[in-house]
């Protein structure tokens, strides 16, 4: 990840939340956030059958989480209804982060019958990091830990996975700050 990105992501999250009219210690209104970016949110089930999604999941679990299409005049974020709600929250926040970071969409390429999906590891890392900042900003994590809430409780309150809550507690260093008081 490029130097300075982590601090930049916290600032970006704070500024974006301000445009949504929510502070750093409130739950992110995800649908409003997507709409603000001029994007549409769709369940994959509204476009293809659940059977096809189940088939992919059966062949390779976790093969498809979410994606964003660039439809020239607007973007469409499509999420997989087979994922757990907390996972979906992270997936949508990840896609939203790509939009905020103005990452270009990547072409799906085929060699013979084999499909290759473009992926820039640096951009993926950035989108992951920003998604965490958007869902659980440092100030929010600090507030929750000071209130004595555990990672599980934070996950429940903000409808994110406990994996995400634990990640943000570690990444923000908030636990150390709370413990040292």
């Amino acid at each position: 990840m490029r130097r300075g990105f982590k601090a930049e992501a916290e600032r970006m999250s704070s500024s974006f939340r301000a445009t949504l009219g929510v502070g750093d210690t409130s739950k992110l209104p995800l649908e409003q956030a997507v709409k603000t970016m001029g994007a549409e949110l769709r369940s994959a089930e509204s476009l293809v059958s659940l059977e096809r999604l189940r088939e992919i999941e059966q062949v390779q679990p976790g093969a498809f989480s979410a994606c964003t299409f660039d439809m020239s005049d607007h973007k469409v974020i499509v999420w997989n209804p087979l994922s757990k709600p907390a996972r979906t929250t992270s997936d949508i926040a990840h896609e939203l982060s790509h939009l905020l970071l103005k990452h270009e969409v990547k072409e799906v390429q085929k060699v013979g019958e084999l499909a290759f999906f473009g992926c820039d590891p640096d951009e993926e890392q950035e989108a992951n990091w920003l998604a965490g900042c958007l869902l659980l900003p440092r100030a929010l994590v600090l507030k929750e830990l000071r209130a004595g809430h555990t990672a599980e409780q934070i996950a429940d309150r903000y409808e994110v996975s406990s994996q995400m809550a634990n990640f943000r507690i570690r990444a923000t260093g908030a636990l150390r700050q709370v413990s040292s008081r």
Binding site: Q60, F69, K110, G112
Partner: protein, 152 residues
């Protein structure tokens, strides 16, 4: 269930070459900048993303077309032609490249534009070929439906 794409020989070629050069997966990961887990999965038949695929091919020093056991009838026209040109005993690699460049330019100019599907995709880092093919079809169909909705 329809027959999926053939298993690529890429994994086998990678493992054979790596062993011949007496490199561990970790050595190779450090050398070419592809994640250890990704390399391990590729050797077991998974398909990596384009960037890692190119790094692996570059290390192998092999033309991509030869690494796939795909039927002759499938694939892009220029790829099928490339496979023939690069395996033609009467042509050197340089000759094959010259002919292919000419043909590719003509093809690009004369062929109708192909609808492209471009996405940000949150998914696995590598795919078993069958899952990759299913996902590619899924994305293509989703994109088509969204395009149709846009036209209405």
């Amino acid at each position: 269930m329809p027959e999926g794409p053939s298993q690529p020989a890429l994994g086998n070629a990678l493992r054979a070459e790596r062993r011949q050069r007496r490199l561990s997966l970790r050595d190779l990961a450090a050398e070419i900048g592809v994640n250890f887990n990704t390399l391990s999965r590729v050797e077991r038949g998974h398909i990596p993303d384009v960037q890692n695929y190119e790094r692996i091919l570059s290390w192998l020093g092999a033309p991509g077309q030869g690494l796939f056991d795909t039927p002759e009838t499938s694939g892009d026209t220029t790829q099928i032609i490339a496979r023939h040109l690069y395996t033609d005993e009467r042509l050197t690699a340089e000759n094959a490249k010259q002919i292919l460049n000419l043909l590719s330019d003509m093809y690009q100019q004369l062929a109708r534009p192909k609808p492209t599907v471009a996405v940000h995709l949150r998914s696995s880092q590598t795919f078993v070929p069958e899952a990759g093919a299913l996902l590619s079809d899924l994305l293509t169909d989703m994109h088509k439906i969204l395009s149709e909705e846009q036209e209405v």
